[in-house]
């Protein structure tokens, strides 16, 4: 794929826009790509990254990436016009039907798979609210993009923007009239587990996107498994999105 642009959002995050040589396949919200990282000494395997947004008209996809270690650092240095090898689209997707008022919750870079989802839900006349959480204002990414499709709520640990605290401490969860009929989330596992507990109490659907370590990304190596009610399942092919009720130790 050709790198159309690589935009640094701040020192920790960057946004890649990529264009495949051929027409884009159909991509579902929540799917990911296995991205090859070239010329990084200790990065041997591909890196799984969610599809952040899809633009069929311009035949481009976006990836929103947090710099974590060598692989993502190397990727952040890629330049416009360079090429990048992706295996995509992989995995299953969030549900886009069955709920009429959805709360999307992203912790830090966990919002990455939720933008494309927000747009698809919006286009289906499903009410979308996005709750974004991070340590500080610099972790709250792309809020204006999410505002195109519905309200945006924010929490930060240092109260630099939005309410102070973790996403699960947001006042929306304290109100008697919690209006949402489903929660879809991606981010740190403790955050997603806390949301799953809330969803259980409220008796609403909750889908979580897992970020297990992966080698192949296509169901061949069985390295990425998660323990479910039906035994070990591959996160890369049966996930990354799971209803929390399927996962052992989540409810």
């Amino acid at each position: 794929m050709k790198v159309v642009s690589n935009k640094n959002l701040n020192t920790k995050y960057f946004l890649l826009t990529l264009q495949p040589p051929d027409n884009m396949p159909v991509i579902l919200p929540g799917q990911f790509a296995q991205v090859e990282i070239k010329d990084a000494k200790n990065t041997f395997l591909r890196r799984p990254l969610s599809v952040h947004d899809v633009d069929y008209k311009n035949n481009t996809i976006k990836l929103l990436v947090q710099i974590i270690g060598e692989g993502t650092k190397k990727l952040s240095e890629i330049k416009e016009g360079d090429s990048l090898n992706l295996v995509y689209p992989l995995g299953n997707s969030f549900s886009t039907s069955g709920a009429d008022n959805v709360l999307l919750v992203g912790g830090g870079c966990g919002i990455a798979p939720l933008l494309y989802l927000a747009r698809l839900l919006f286009e289906k006349n499903i009410k979308v609210t996005t709750l974004i959480g991070g340590s500080s204002e610099s972790d709250i990414l792309e809020a204006d993009e999410y505002r195109k499709y519905g309200d945006v709520l924010i929490t930060t640990l240092d109260a630099s923007i939005g309410e102070k605290g973790l996403v699960t401490q947001h006042s929306v969860f304290n109100s008697d009239k919690f209006p949402y009929t489903a929660i879809y989330t991606c981010g740190p596992e403790p955050m997603m587990k806390a949301l799953a507990r809330i969803a259980k109490e409220m008796n609403i659907r909750c889908e979580v996107s897992l970020e297990n370590m992966m080698a192949c990304g296509i169901g061949a190596c069985l390295c990425c498994v998660v323990d479910t009610n039906e035994g070990n399942k591959c996160t890369c092919t049966k996930g990354p999105v799971f209803n929390y009720k399927e996962l052992k130790g989540w409810s």
């Binding site: 990065t43 591909r46 370590m213 192949c216 296509i218 061949a220 069985l222 998660v226």
Partner: protein, 306 residues
């Protein structure tokens, strides 16, 4: 394209005829189907499917994988649905793939190996099995059979009695004398040996002060193991008369050719499939180009030149 001038890539392993020497390694290529979107898998010389045991196994707990410089550790631990499920659900889906579909067989006891092998013996479209006596990731059996000569002989002899097609025995590198092991299983009736399985290794997260794998130790694969694998293939090829299948860290055609020069009649590609799911056809093409460049009409001419 003038087919007449193309080098002959065909090789023989026991009763098997391989259209080219490139196969895929067990546990890294699923049942083949996973790769059908990336290339025509019937162009392979053979596909070794996942390790199959007597009954269903869940494998080890997550995390089962850790990246290492130029390689990876895995501790999957033979997760599979068992031989009966293979026969009823998987075999019908894969039996008509036009290449050698070979099943990797594992067990905790000799009886379990015998049970799996006798059932597979009845399947028309499975022309060979690969006996895995080298899995480092299970508590019982696995590598224990492949690290001592008497037990390797016992399991190979027992399988030879019940399995009447091509029998490949997959050797563990976690031994002091690999040539001795190869000779032992040759004497016990193996038609071929494949090597290497993964090298026992480990990795630690120093911040959490915990091992990176749930099982503490796991199997190392990828380019990191290639020099060791190549040396072992060379030693084994010198020691036995049966054909040797070489693997361990093969990433491209040059690596594959090194193994063949060292004495491998065929090779398997493992971890490289994760980096490039379409690497195998590139390796086949690369071998072909190499033979043309070196004016060899037949791939067998380069086997064991070292």
């Amino acid at each position: 394209m003038e087919l007449k001038n193309m080098p002959d890539l065909c090789v023989k392993i026991g009763g098997l005829v391989l259209k080219n020497p490139v196969m895929t390694a067990s546990g890294t290529f699923g049942y083949g189907e996973e790769f059908a979107d990336f290339f025509d898998i019937s162009t392979l010389g053979g596909i070794i499917v996942k390790g199959t045991t007597g009954s269903k196994r869940e494998g080890n707990a997550y995390p089962r994988m850790a990246e290492t410089p130029s390689g990876m550790l895995n501790a999957v631990g033979l997760q599979n649905k068992g031989v009966d499920n293979f026969i009823s659900d998987i075999y019908p889906r894969i039996k008509d793939i036009n290449t050698n579909m070979i099943v990797n067989v594992s067990g905790s006891t000799i009886d379990e190996y015998i049970m799996v092998a006798s059932k597979l013996n009845e399947l028309d479209k499975i022309p060979a099995i690969e006996l895995n006596i080298s899995c480092p990731n299970v508590k019982e059996g696995g590598m224990a059979f492949g690290t001592s000569c008497p037990s390797a002989i016992a399991v190979t002899e027992a399988i030879r009695k019940v399995y009447h097609k091509t029998l490949i025995v997959k050797l563990s590198p976690n031994v002091t004398n690999i040539a001795e092991m190869a000779k032992a299983v040759e004497g016990a009736g193996a038609d071929s040996v494949s090597l290497i399985n993964t090298l026992l290794g480990m990795a630690i997260d120093i911040e959490r002060q915990k091992p990176l794998l749930s099982t503490i130790t796991g199997g190392l694969s990828g380019p990191a193991v290639k020099p060791v694998a190549l040396r072992m293939v060379w030693q084994v090829a010198k020691a036995v008369k049966i054909p040797v299948i070489g693997l361990g860290g093969i990433m491209n055609a040059a690596d594959a050719i090194e193994f063949m020069l060292a004495g491998a009649t065929a090779i398997q590609v493992g971890t490289a499939n994760f980096i490039d799911p379409a690497v195998c056809p590139k390796i086949i093409d690369g071998i072909n180009d190499y033979l043309i460049r070196h004016r060899n009409n037949n791939v067998n001419e380069i086997i064991g030149k070292i």
